[in-house]
Amino acid sequence: MSNWEVVIGLEIHAQLATKSKIFSGSATAYGAPPNTQADLVDLAYPGVLPVLNARVVEMAVKFGLAVGASVARRSVFARKNYFYPDLPKGYQISQYELPVVARGSLKIMLDDGSVKTIGITRAHLEEDAGKSLHEGLANATGIDLNRAGTPLLEIVSEPDMRSAKEAVAYMKKIHTLVRYLEICDGNMQEGSFRCDANVSVRPKGQEKFGTRAEIKNLNSFRFVEKAIHYEVARQVELIEGGGKVVQETRLYDSDKDETRSMRSKEEANDYRYFPDPDLLPVEIDEPFIEAVRATLPELPDQKAARFAKDFALSAYDAGVLSASRELGAYFEAVILGLGASHAKLGANWVMGELSSALNRDNVDIENSKVDPEALTALLKRIVDETISGKIAKEVFEAMWSEGKAADAIIEAKGLRQITDSSAIEGVIDAVIAANPKQLADYRSGKDKLFGFFVGQVMKATGGKANPAQLNELLKTKLGGSGNA
């Protein structure tokens, strides 16, 4: 295995977040009853013609600018011809020789913290097909054309990725980017964001690519990773057993965790691409590009760099906090209230308690039960030592479940930290008096028992003793070895 190098390229299909379809006026909303969002154009009735939705061009240009690509001044829609019941016209309108976006790139961060640039060969506009329905139909196949004509941006990478992890990191980065740009909702369950993976292996040191297999329609990051793992193992095993990888299209079965052959190169369709005579070439001029450029938000990499610089965060933290516009905005709102000098505290809480609560309850950050102002109020109580970090977690849970403000919970539950030295000393004295054996042991060199005393004091104070003060006082009181 270690003698083999993996080569991966991804074709990501991002459904563009338009209200209407790419060539018709039908709605694109997900989940409507079958065929209620398909008009005569979507049904490919005789005589109807496609009319390009100008919004999709704007979105493609936005993406192109965000990945530093060149935006074609002239791009052409072509017909990809094949017969299938979910393809009403008998051809898919796509872009072939002249795509709207070409030659971009994207940076991903690897596990060791290094950064790798992945090339983006092209991004082109196309329409989605409908889908076939088999459930509940005896001896028949139903066709739902609601999805037919939904706009897609197909983003094709260079074969630059060398592991499943890199592929997932790249896919996540594109996912982040398209949501930043608000050109795709990124909803993978609904199929708004999916990919095909081209996978091959070659002996380490060999320049020539191995024969690739294309794994179709992967709609989760986990499936991408698992499918690539399976496929790489399959190809290596095949070659090491004296066989040859054939160029083919494969399907990933998530239930069995394996890829299966769909069709070989020989069986592949000849799509007979040619320019669609019903549509004019898309002409894009400089003012249009500049107008789109003006609408670009701060991009993930820019935001991460700013977080790292302005808030002295690690590259990792800055990367996590800029992974979505909403998360970044939440974090910034917290820092605004808390002050940049406490950015690390804010970062830890947003990435820690808040994120795990959101994940646990499957809630989007926009709908978080604890809003940035509420979280800021809680964190301020850590900063001013009203409560300890540990108690704060308890308060946060209460805020999350009861929806009350931090101060109200601290007061109601009496969680205010004990910072009065004499009060803490009193408790320490009582604990020492009650545990003479442990005291003797400690003093004879069992340093580890220091923790036992801390625990006892905390237990007696309900965890409210100020930890720093407690440490200080306890050291003095225990005396003895003194080197704790």
Binding site: L40, Y45, P46, G47, L49, N81, G90, R272, D278
Partner: protein, 484 residues
């Protein structure tokens, strides 16, 4: 007789209430009932609807409304979708297809108050030059029922010549208006590509198809074009150029008009045909026009170019007829492939299949460059030739067809011989230019056509030149025997 009147006179009588639209409609319907069985010019008659529409037109006239086409009966080629009326396109494939919407051409003429008498017979999917490929049987030429009327708009041409209506719509992909107009002795106008919306016109070859009109005079054609022409947001290839007042343009004198004689059109021209064109030129010089020879050196490439481009587009355009959503479906399909094969195999006729196969072939991997791409280059050369010619002259002139109407059955077994019929008309389609065919005399008792071709959007100039010719000649007033 009413049926020999031009629409200007008919409109005048309608406005003056000397005649009602219902009476006019009845008059034409009774002619059709009596005379059409010998000609087979219709696929569907809509007598009942026509009388209702005529009554509505009468009501509008009664309210003092005026309009050059208000209350005027017409016939639509069965390629135009007509809401609630079968739209067969001359094919078994659509024998059961009732269009759920009106083509833009139909809608515009409807709101102008025209009264549709029926849908005219045509070559299947407009593929043919003799109207013999229709599923509904051949149309006969009213000048001699042993002869073809030309195609593909043979029904509209024959019906106009037989005075079944003063005007009829047609479509022209390679000469399908001008050639049958010539062979039946009527005036046929093919506008500039993009001048008239293609929405709702069942596509044959999208980059060549253009809707136009049959009439008995250029003046009548001008009135109809006035209503048909104009930008349509539903057809991306329709062009947003202002529509001039075509009827107003008809008065301009021809003095100084530069007419180009296409050298390539006259080479090898049959002497009697050449003599008619000579005579027409004399008329034009008598009207003050200047003539000079121009050359389109690449014009001889037009037939082979056309028979690559048109089949390529048709092979894709006709893919939607798959038996799934509308149109013909075979009995008891065994599986999907069987459904496709038999529905298309049984639904399409021989000529349509021949062109689908040709088109599929020229777009196939390995042949695309040699055929499709080369044809596109030849098309560009032909277009450039015309452009260069129009820098020297205002219009070019020549015959519409090499011969008069031929015998039914004479060329059906020799597709190349049949295709050569369009040798003079195809160039204008490849270059997207407007062209008109005018009756200019007889050979063997059969009408011949004079063709004028102009630069893009020169319809006004073209119609005026045609009108001036008709003011100076009476060929357009000849009526086939039995249809006086």
């Amino acid at each position: 007789m009413l049926h020999n009147l031009f629409i200007g006179e008919l409109a005048d009588r309608l406005v003056k209430r000397q005649i009602s639209s219902v009476e006019l409609t009845r008059h034409f319907l009774s002619r059709i009932e009596r005379l059409n069985p010998a000609l087979n010019a219709f696929i569907t008659l809509t007598a009942e609807q026509a009388l209702q529409d005529a009554a509505s037109a009468d009501a509008r006239l009664g309210n003092g409304e005026k309009g050059p086409l208000l209350g005027i009966p017409l016939i639509h080629k069965d390629i135009f979708c007509t809401q609630g009326v079968r739209t067969s396109c001359g094919s078994r494939m659509l024998d059961n297809f009732v269009a759920p919407y009106d083509a833009t051409v139909v809608a515009r003429l409807k709101s102008a108050g025209t009264v549709m008498l029926g849908k005219s017979n045509m070559d299947e999917f407009a593929m043919g030059s003799s109207n013999e490929t229709s599923y509904y049987g051949p149309v006969k030429n009213p000048w001699d029922i042993a002869k073809v009327p030309g195609g593909s708009s043979g029904g509209s041409a024959a019906a106009t010549a037989a005075r079944f209506a003063p005007i009829a719509t047609g479509t022209d992909t390679g000469g399908s208006i001008r050639q049958p107009a010539a062979l039946t002795g009527v005036t046929g106008l093919k506008p500039t590509y993009g001048r008239v919306s293609r929405y709702g016109m069942i596509a044959f070859a999208s980059s060549l198809d253009q809707a136009g009109v049959f009439a008995r005079t250029a003046g009548d054609a001008a009135a109809v074009l006035q209503v048909m022409a104009g930008f349509d947001a539903r057809d991306s290839t329709s062009i947003d150029v202002p529509v001039p007042d075509y009827s107003k343009a008809l008065g301009a004198p021809l003095k100084g008009l530069k007419i180009g004689l296409l050298r390539e059109f006259f080479e090898g021209l049959e002497p009697r045909n050449a003599a008619l064109i000579e005579a027409a030129l004399n008329i034009y010089t008598g009207l003050g026009a200047e003539t000079r020879e121009v050359s389109l050196p690449h014009l001889p490439l037009s037939v082979p170019t056309y028979y690559v481009v048109a089949p390529a587009e048709c092979s894709s355009n006709l893919a939607r007829f798959d038996g799934v959503r509308f149109g013909y479906r075979c009995e008891n399909p065994q599986d999907l492939m069987d459904l496709y094969k038999r529905s298309r195999g049984e639904g399409f006729g021989a000529e349509v299949k021949r062109r689908i196969m040709t088109g599929t072939y020229v777009l196939s991997a390995g042949y695309f460059d040699a055929y499709y791409l080369k044809a596109q280059k030849a098309r560009r050369l032909i277009t450039d030739d015309f452009r260069a010619a129009f820098e020297k002259v205002d219009l070019v002139i020549g015959p519409t067809t090499p011969t008069p109407a031929f015998d039914i059955g004479a060329k059906m077994n020799d597709p190349v011989l049949m295709y050569l019929n369009d040798i003079y008309t195809i160039g204008a389609n490849l270059a997207g230019l407007p062209g008109v065919s005018l009756p200019c005399g007889f050979v063997d008792g059969l009408p011949m056509g004079l063709q004028l071709i102009g630069p893009h959007f020169a319809e006004a100039k073209l119609l005026n030149a045609a009108h001036q010719y008709q003011q100076a000649t009476d060929w357009h007033t000849h009526v086939p025997r039995g249809y006086e």
